[in-house]
């Protein structure tokens, strides 16, 4: 577990005059599930956008799997083995699930074999939807398709932006089960408001507050931290 | 400054003012429609020419006094707008990315009107000239200016001022501006969004019609002015910031002066190239425009 997968140093991002991220440092080891929490607007999604190359930071460096990925394009970062999901579910809605998966295989870092695709689809219980347009599926099913499209690329790190957002409580339970098994397939970075997800999955938690890192540590310690409770968990956001 | 140079200078200023105020009117009309219903109306130039041609028919063919004709032309735009809104525009209000549908739709309208104009007015004449609103000449320093053109300028500026007042102080204007800024928030505050949509569509087109009839009163025109006007109004709107009335007025004035100045020293093609170049640069590097709301 002392093999560093993601190494973020002093990343800052401003939008106009507003500082969204103020010098964030963060280290994630291979196999370690990292949870990121914080109120709305604290910069969590901006952080993921910077790591995945969608947003260029004003300063700071990101290295992934031992290589610097600062200033590279999303597709290059994806090919390096870093993948992500979006807060609002995002699939090719007009295309069938099969076509979605085929698209994910075209430029994959290390495309899964046909058998491996079938195995992942069976594990996610989405096989029976393969010929439906992805946009016609339920939110839960679309989340499963999202995971399937990422997993067939055999990523090293998967960044999940609120993976249970909008799901019913039964679906949240199912998703937590899926995600805990997912830990065996790749390293996970997860943004969540639902503390249950963080508590059950994360090995380490980072709290973001107005673009700054407020605290970092094991979930039990963080969720009991008085500053975190005062500033975040005590508020309606959590 | 020699007398000749002074005359050139003054005539550039006066032409720039008249053209600028008319450009501003049309661009304001386009920007009101875009800002509220997200419709980039590429047919604005055809509407502009339609107004001018209607004015020509009323004054030249029917012998109506130009002032009354101008009021009638602007009046006619209202039922036309509401009809168009009812048949075509309304059905896209809830379509995502409707600006591209509207854009293509307005290109279709452009083509239809182009055909209609060519089939009807195109056979009658190449150049159209309306009788003046008022006669006489006023000397500004050494430069003689037709009172008619001064009248057109005064009218154009008054309409612009009235629009500002309407959008800023009147109940309807405030509703339109609320929808400009945020459709959902406006709906929550009790603004009837759909009604404000059709109102802004009609208002925007009325302003374009006003620009068309005023232009026809000041200058002779031909059918090709339609496409030039479309492109110019779009350039003004994009550079000024889509939806920004103030931006449309300022950039419209700048364009009027540019056109007047460039036409005295170089060809109008250069002016067209420069507008298009400016628009491309803004599109690429600051698509929200210079005066973004």
């Amino acid at each position: 577990m002392n093999d560093i997968l993601l190494d973020v140093k002093a990343v800052s991002k401003r939008f106009g005059g507003v500082a969204a991220l103020k010098g964030i440092d963060l280290v994630q080891h291979r196999g370690e599930t990292l949870g990121m929490i914080g109120p709305n607007g604290s910069g969590k999604t901006t952080f993921v956008n910077v790591i995945s190359g969608h947003t260029k930071p004003n300063s700071g460096t990101v290295s992934f799997d031992g290589r610097s990925v600062s200033g590279t394009n999303p597709f290059q970062i994806a090919k390096a083995g870093l993948t992500r999901t979006y807060q609002a579910v995002r699939v090719f809605g007009e295309l069938t699930v099969r076509e979605n998966v085929a698209t994910a295989l075209v430029d994959a870092r290390d495309a899964a074999s046909q058998e491996a695709v079938a195995e992942i689809a069976d594990w996610l219980r989405i096989t029976h939807r393969f010929d439906k347009p992805a946009g016609s599926l339920t939110l839960m099913e679309q989340r499963q398709v999202e995971l399937l499209m990422r997993l067939v690329q055999k990523p090293k790190l998967m960044m999940l932006d609120e993976p249970v957002g909008g799901l019913s409580s039964a679906e949240v339970r199912t998703m937590i089960g899926v995600l805990s098994e997912l830990k065996g397939r790749c390293t996970i970075f997860v943004i969540e408001h639902t503390m249950k997800v963080i508590r059950e999955l994360a090995d380490k938690v980072v709290v973001l507050m107005a673009g700054e890192k407020l605290a970092e540590g094991p979930p039990a310690q963080i969720l009991a931290d008085q500053r975190v409770i005062d500033k975040y968990l005590g508020t309606a956001d959590a | 400054m020699s007398d000749a140079n002074l005359i050139i200078f003054l005539s550039t200023i006066s032409t720039g003012l008249i053209l600028g105020s008319i450009f501003a009117l049309v661009a304001v009309g386009v920007t009101i429609v875009y800002g509220s219903i997200w419709m980039p109306n590429a047919a604005n130039g055809q509407f502009f020419v339609l107004a001018a041609l209607l004015g020509w028919t009323m004054t030249v063919s029917w012998g109506i006094h130009p002032a009354i004709a101008a009021i009638l032309v602007i009046g006619v735009s209202v039922p036309l707008s509401y009809g168009l809104e009812y048949i075509l525009v309304r059905r896209f209000y809830d379509v995502p990315n409707r600006n591209i549908s509207y854009f293509v739709l307005s290109l279709g309208i452009t083509q239809i009107l182009t055909g209609i104009f060519a089939a009807t007015y195109g056979r009658w004449s190449d150049q159209f000239q309306l009788p003046p609103l008022v006669s006489g000449i006023t000397f500004i320093g050494p430069l003689p200016v037709a009172n008619n053109r001064l009248m057109v300028l005064a009218l154009a500026l008054s309409i612009l001022a009235a629009l500002f007042a309407l959008l800023r102080y009147h109940r309807y204007g405030r509703a339109i501006r609320a929808v400009f800024q945020n459709r959902d928030a406006a709906a929550l505050r009790g603004v009837n969004v759909k009604a404000s949509y059709s109102l802004s569509f009609a208002l925007g087109n009325a302003v374009i019609f006003a620009g068309g009839i005023l232009f026809a009163l000041a200058y002779s025109f031909d059918l090709t002015v339609a496409w030039t006007m479309s492109i110019t109004a779009f350039a003004i709107m994009i550079i000024g910031g889509p939806g920004s009335v103030l931006g449309a007025v300022i950039v419209g004035m700048v364009f009027g002066f540019t056109q007047a100045a460039v036409s005295t020293v170089a060809s109008p093609t250069i002016a067209a190239f420069s507008y298009l170049g400016a628009m491309l640069l803004i599109l690429l590097f600051k698509p929200s425009g210079l005066f973004a709301r």
Partner: protein, 336 residues
């Protein structure tokens, strides 16, 4: 049972386009013979073939990549003027054609650069501005283009024995160009390039996140699409014998767009049908160009209002939904 990914198998019959393609090829090559008794109808058919080529190129950009390039006719014009200029200075047409087509392609890449920053309406507006600038350029640089007057009496290309390529032979060349164009489009769409372009059309940010080089493939789409425009423009000039800035203005771009949208964007055969229906119409109505304008305008509005997916698009969507769901996704996939 279809595999998740298409195998690297480009045999067209297996993909369901074989039969229509065979029919189309037969009709395309038979038409010049059937109409050889009537030069006027054969000529209209030839012009239609050029429009099939153009519509297929526009379809690659608009239907499959999701960009609406209203400077398409301008690109065809760049090629046409290049070819006419080169042949006038002594070049062989067959040498000038690839040069002209390449000129269109390179211009297409450069003029397509705004698509990297602008989406939807803003790109379309930008392309409209570019088209207007190109048209103004054709008028303004009259030393090369003879301005608004245009260039007339463009000589026919010569065949092997110094004979001019005329009548039936030229018609057959145009048929071949149309058939080859459609085949190229089918091959692209069925390849991984097509899958990447569709992904970019559907959601370019997501496509990039899945490892697709969005910038690179947009440029490739522009290169190929503009090549279609360029080849069509090069063949058009000597065939008609006359070109002017009006031959390649924004209305022509809109007409080609309409063939794609009316027939059904993002399908192989829709735009071909669109071109077959609309290209002769515009030619037969040339005497009544005002009627043509009004008709085209009405069609544009009808397409936008009634069938956002076009004729073939709506048909295809229905068929897709009624297909029975399959339970198993997998058959062995070709080696990567």
């Amino acid at each position: 049972m279809t595999p998740v990914t298409e195998k690297k198998d480009l045999s067209l019959l297996a993909k369901g386009h074989g039969l229509p393609l065979a029919c189309f090829a037969v009709v395309a090559f038979a038409t010049p013979f059937l109409l050889s008794g009537n030069r006027y109808f054969a000529f209209v058919a030839g012009v239609t073939m050029i429009h099939i080529l153009w519509a297929s190129g526009m379809n690659l950009l608009y239907g499959y990549t999701g960009l609406m390039p209203l400077m398409f006719a301008g690109l065809a014009g760049i090629s046409a003027y290049t070819v006419v200029g080169l042949t006038a200075s002594g070049w062989s047409f067959w040498l000038a054609l690839p040069v002209g087509a390449l000129a269109a392609s390179i211009s297409g890449i450069i003029l397509g650069l705004p698509s990297l920053r602008l989406k939807g309406f803003y790109f379309t507006l930008c392309s409209l501005v570019i088209q207007t600038v190109v048209t103004l350029g054709f008028i303004y640089f009259s030393g090369l283009t003879n301005g608004d007057t245009g260039i007339s009496q463009i000589p026919l290309p010569s065949m092997g024995g110094g004979q001019p390529l005329s009548g039936l032979a030229y018609d057959l060349v145009l048929s071949a160009a149309a058939v080859i164009g459609v085949i190229v489009l089918i091959v692209i769409v069925k390849s991984t390039l097509g899958r990447r372009l569709i992904a970019i059309r559907e959601d370019d940010e997501l496509a990039g996140m899945l490892g697709i080089n969005v910038t690179g493939y947009k440029m490739i789409a522009f290169f190929i699409g503009s090549l279609f425009a360029g080849v069509g423009g090069a063949l058009y000039a000597p065939y008609i014998g006359f070109i002017s800035p009006r031959s390649f203005d924004v209305l022509i771009s809109m007409n080609i767009w309409l063939m794609v949208a009316f027939g059904g964007r993002g399908t192989i055969w829709g735009p071909v049908i669109g071109a077959i229906l609309l290209a002769p119409l515009s030619f037969l109505l040339q005497e009544y160009y005002t009627v043509k304008d009004i008709l085209y305008g009405l069609l544009i509005i009808a397409v936008i209002v009634l069938m956002p997916a076009g004729i073939a698009g709506g048909f295809l969507r229905k068929k897709k939904e009624s297909a029975p769901p399959l339970d198993v996704p997998a058959t062995p996939r070709g080696a990567k």
